[in-house]
């Protein structure tokens, strides 16, 4: 189908290098980089070094790594990078729940400083006062943003923070002699899968609350779920539907009355910064994702950070060390008497923390609130427009506003055309867009989740809308074009049949060669 000239839709084509797997580029003897030789005096004393190894520990055959000269290695990975859409290049609003926003370049410049990158975690505290100051100030910032009393910067993602919350809750109940009795964590089905999974890691039975007609977690179900077995509640708000739960303080009250603790999953906080806080909603613990809400890049899936805050009753349980200030110097403090121990080596993902610090210092209080309000404005603008696309809908709470994202549905379009949400997503890739369905299970039929954040202009939002309209229309007129998509992306329809077959799956190149013989080229 021809792209209409008057539409703002781009005649996009993604880079496609038809690039080999790195092992296919190997030529015996080529070198990518050389290692310096040790000084002759060292050789005189230490010999070849290897002879000192016990015979049974020497590696006899070198690892079968590829041998590729430097420029070809560079070219290979540059080509792979071009076969990847980053937020810097596209209108990255189609990965709902992920808060893909602008990651300022100046923060990368700052993080490249040797005074950040070449610090060792066991350096004397006197030599890392700058790093400790940034960590200490971040703790203070998040105390203010959440209303809670102390933060740990150790958890290295949202899921990791959830596991840490579950660890603190367990230790808290154990210290009160209720460790084995309180063996249930309650969560909601529209909270992130890790709210359930990371609780189970800490030995909890998971009780999942479903939603009512308005798409809100059912408070009656919560009342039924709580008991003397309740250890805690993990809940996102707004949930992945973008609907804010106005009864959230009742949820925390009910759980508290049953003797449980409440952990606030604030992965979806981008629309509520400076608007509403964990403390006033009655939470004992909460966490924020620096790589989502606070401007640090996502790095293809990390490094990341899930800074974790608690009320003063729980401070002693935090992972150690925390950063303190004695009025003249910053220091690492590991004297928390009831600490759960550590959840990560050293102190936390420092480059992520540093980039978020710079992001927050650029915005201040007024800026953070402007981020939130603009993210919500952008979202409701899209909501208005997307629900006008024939075949698309926003289930629950028709005509009401949402916070920072919406889980939409293509159910009507799918019934009409037979084209499903995955096929639409793949076709969107032909125009340089991501479009993500949702986490499993698909409770909203044929879901897609959009979160515009504050980073994209109205013009860009309109361009994305044009993409959605175009593909929906195409599903009616030329369903096969959509069903066989993508056509202008990096690769064509992938044969997924091997991925669930232990005899055929290949997680490494060597496994591929063993199972499928020679490469296909």
């Amino acid at each position: 189908m021809e792209i209409q000239k008057n539409s703002k839709l781009r005649n996009f084509h993604q880079a496609k290098w038809d690039e080999e797997v790195i092992f296919e580029l190997s030529t015996k003897g080529e070198r990518g980089i050389l290692v310096p030789e040790v000084e002759p005096e060292i050789k005189k004393i230490a010999g070849d070094g290897v002879s000192s190894l016990p015979e049974n520990m020497m590696r006899k055959e070198p690892p079968a790594l590829p041998e590729v000269a430097q420029m070809r290695v560079l070219k290979h990975f540059l080509r792979l990078s071009q076969q990847n859409l980053g937020a810097d290049l596209n209108i990255d609003i189609g990965q709902g729940t992920c808060t893909v926003k602008y990651n300022p370049k100046v923060n990368e410049t700052l993080a490249s400083s040797k005074r950040a990158s070449a610090l060792h975690p066991y350096q004397d505290e006197g030599t890392v006062q700058g790093a400790l100051q940034i960590m200490y100030e971040m703790d203070l910032f998040f105390r203010e943003i959440s209303g809670l009393d102390r933060f740990s910067l150790q958890p290295s993602s949202g899921s990791h923070a959830i596991m840490t919350m579950a660890s603190i809750i367990r230790k808290y109940h154990e210290s009160r002699g209720e460790g084995s009795e309180r063996d249930e964590i309650i969560t909601t089905i529209f909270s992130h899968p890790s709210d359930a999974a990371a609780a189970a890691v800490k030995g909890y039975k998971v009780v999942t609350i479903y939603f009512n007609k308005e798409g809100l977690p059912d408070i009656k179900a919560l009342k039924k779920a709580v008991s003397r077995r309740t250890a805690g509640l993990f809940i996102t708000n707004p949930e992945d539907t973008g609907i804010f739960n106005p009864k959230i303080s009742e949820f925390t009250r009910i759980v508290h009355e049953a003797g449980g603790l409440c952990g606030y999953d604030q992965a979806n906080a981008n629309g509520i910064l400076g608007i509403t806080r964990a403390k006033e909603a009655g939470f004992d613990l909460c966490f924020f994702n620096l790589h989502k809400t606070f401007g640090a890049p996502h790095g293809c899936g990390g490094p990341a950070s899930g800074v974790l805050g608690v009320t003063k009753e729980l401070v002693d349980y935090l992972p150690i060390p925390v950063v303190d200030f004695d009025g003249s110097k910053y220091y690492l403090n590991d004297s928390l008497p009831k600490t759960i121990g550590k959840v990560r080596s050293f102190y936390g993902p420092f480059p992520v923390i540093l980039k978020s610090y710079a992001w927050m210092m650029s915005l201040g209080a007024e800026g953070l609130k402007e981020v939130a309000k603009t993210a919500v404005l952008n979202n409701n603008y899209l909501l208005k427009k997307i629900t006008k696309i024939k075949g698309a809908a926003a289930p629950f709470k028709a005509g009401k506003h949402r916070i920072e994202q919406v889980r939409y549905s293509w159910e009507e379009l799918c019934k009409e055309t037979g084209v499903d949400t995955h096929q639409i997503a793949f076709r969107m890739a032909d125009f340089g867009f991501h479009l993500w369905s949702s986490h499993h299970p698909f409770l909203v039929p044929q879901p897609f989740t959009i979160e515009p954040t504050e980073s994209y202009s109205k013009k860009e939002l309109d361009e994305y809308l044009n993409g959605l309209r175009h593909v929906a229309e195409e599903a009616r007129k030329e369903p096969e074009t959509v069903k066989n998509a993508p056509h202008r992306s990096v690769v064509h329809k992938i044969d997924e049949s091997t991925f669930d077959d232990p005899k055929k799956w290949a997680i490494t190149w060597r496994a591929y060669l063993k199972k499928h013989g020679k490469p296909i080229k």
Binding site: P63, L78, A116, S159, G299, L368, K400, W505
Partner: protein, 466 residues
């Protein structure tokens, strides 16, 4: 002037008042605050957050952050002998070039079509690590070695259906703390002792503690204390004869010269990729790997993403995707294996670039280089009066220096070393009570002979003071 209206920030295009007006009109509300009509008043924060004044211009921001960072002294400003789970290794320029690419740096979780690049790069990461480890399965990186070790042990628990693990007491104290928390309450963690003179695992202690409820025996090689555990096969044999698995933590940078754990009976190997092309970042740039044989009973217990290679509808084209996705918590929430989420993908890509550049010969040469240099340092340090090397074993990269006969505590020695611009080895006194006045020294390719000699001269001077 109404200050509120003039707040137009470069990161927020629609902060322009006219655009905002137009969009509000489109939505059908007068004020953006109306969009929060679901929030009860008692939950609204009706005051401004108490945060520092913003540094709105990029120049001011840069000055401010640089001023703070200038308070730090880095391992490039000084001579560093610090290790213990994070080490100063050389990062090739090509690694930085690739990890700074916008396409990788700012991407997240796209499909294997429009984000084919990250799927292939991470598949290659798995494949390159697999060669180093001589195993057929490697995961997409998790947070760090501590998490990788914890998950390896939990995997062993599920594979064997057992509830106890035995861990060498020479494990990194940080990692032991992580493992204990992560395993509790599903797996009990018991320690196995070591020989005081060699550091090697006490096999009699292992024999006495292993039983039919033990899921796995875990040790590290080279150990946290730097010595090489030579009894790997005996440990694995003992574990296997009791139906347990052998899990080995390993520093991958040693594997150009040292045998990988798979060659001495390990069922699962784990470790950290920080040293493979990633800067230290105050210990903030870690990435954990887990590796095993390609057996269904192992693969199905990984919680991590596992990217696989496949064909596409076009002949000769490679495609990539998730292997056994439904085993993960993305697929099955609490019924999935442990949990998965964002972790350390970019460090995996950097490690892939690193291993591609190094090749087999680079890894072998680097291993030799580190062996030679650390042996030189051990020899020179061992000659100083009042200094003794703690363990009579072979070492790689790190070793324990005992200052107890000098009569000076490590803290004091390190204080004076710092005066001369030297970061002395990590003080072990607190975490290992038997290693009072001992320090863990680490020697990589980043220190020169001259710097080692400087350390020796300065130490002699410090220790000869009365």
């Amino acid at each position: 002037m109404d200050k509120k209206k003039s707040f137009i920030h470069p990161y927020i295009p629609n902060s322009v008042p006219e655009v905002k007006e137009e969009m509000l009109k489109e939505i059908g509300v007068k004020d953006a605050d109306e969009l929060y009509d679901d929030l009860p008043e008692k939950l609204r924060l009706r005051r401004r957050l108490n945060l520092p004044q913003p540094l709105l211009s990029e120049l001011e921001l840069k000055r401010h952050v640089e001023k703070i960072l200038a308070k730090n002294k880095s391992c490039e400003d000084c001579i560093s002998f610090l290790g213990g789970g994070c080490a100063h290794h050389y990062v090739p320029a090509v690694c930085d070039e690739i990890t700074h690419r916008s396409e990788f740096l700012t991407a997240y979780a796209g499909e294997p079509y429009e984000d084919a690049g990250r799927f292939q790069a991470l598949f290659e990461y798995e494949s390159l690590m697999a060669e180093l480890l001589d195993f057929d399965v490697v995961n997409v990186p998790t947070y760090d070695w501590g998490q990788a070790a914890s998950t390896s042990l939990r995997m062993a628990g599920r594979i064997t259906g057992r509830k106890r693990v035995l861990v060498s007491d020479t494990i990194s104290p940080d990692r032991l703390s992580i493992v204990r928390n992560y395993c509790h309450p599903l797996l009990a963690v018991d320690l196995i002792g070591h020989h005081p003179h060699t550091g090697l695992m006490n096999l009699e202690d292992l024999e006495s503690k292993i039983s039919p409820d033990v899921a796995a025996v875990y040790f590290e090689n080279p150990s946290f204390l730097g010595f090489i555990e030579t009894q790997g096969q005996s440990i694995a044999d003992t574990a296997h004869s009791h139906g347990s698995l052998s899990v080995v933590g390993v520093d991958p940078i040693s594997l150009g010269v040292l045998k990988p754990p798979s060659h001495y009976g390990a069922d699962i190997a784990c470790g950290d990729i920080q040293g493979l092309g990633n800067h230290m970042y105050y210990g903030g740039s870690l990435g954990g790997f887990i590796a095993s044989r390609d057996e269904e009973r192992f693969v199905m217990e990984y919680p991590s993403r596992l990217f696989g290679i496949a064909k596409t509808s076009v002949e000769g084209e490679w495609g990539f995707g998730d292997v056994a996705y439904m085993r993960t918590s993305f697929g099955g929430r609490e019924k999935g294996k442990e949990f998965v989420g964002t972790a350390a993908a970019l460090y995996g890509i950097s490690a892939a670039v690193y291993l591609s550049l190094m090749g087999p010969q680079g890894m072998a040469e680097l291993g030799e280089h580190i062996l030679q240099k650390s042996q030189y340092a051990m020899k020179r340090l061992g000659e100083i009066q009042g200094v003794r090397l703690r363990f009579q074993s072979s070492h790689f990269k790190e070793f324990v220096v005992d200052f107890s006969s000098s009569g000076k505590p490590v803290g004091e020695i390190n204080h004076w070393l710092l005066h001369k611009g030297i970061f002395g080895g990590k003080d072990l006194s607190r975490e290992f009570p038997e290693l009072q006045n001992c320090a863990l020294y680490c020697v990589t390719e980043m220190v020169t002979k001259k710097e080692i000699d400087t350390l020796v001269i300065v130490l002699k001077d410090i220790l000869s003071r009365r």
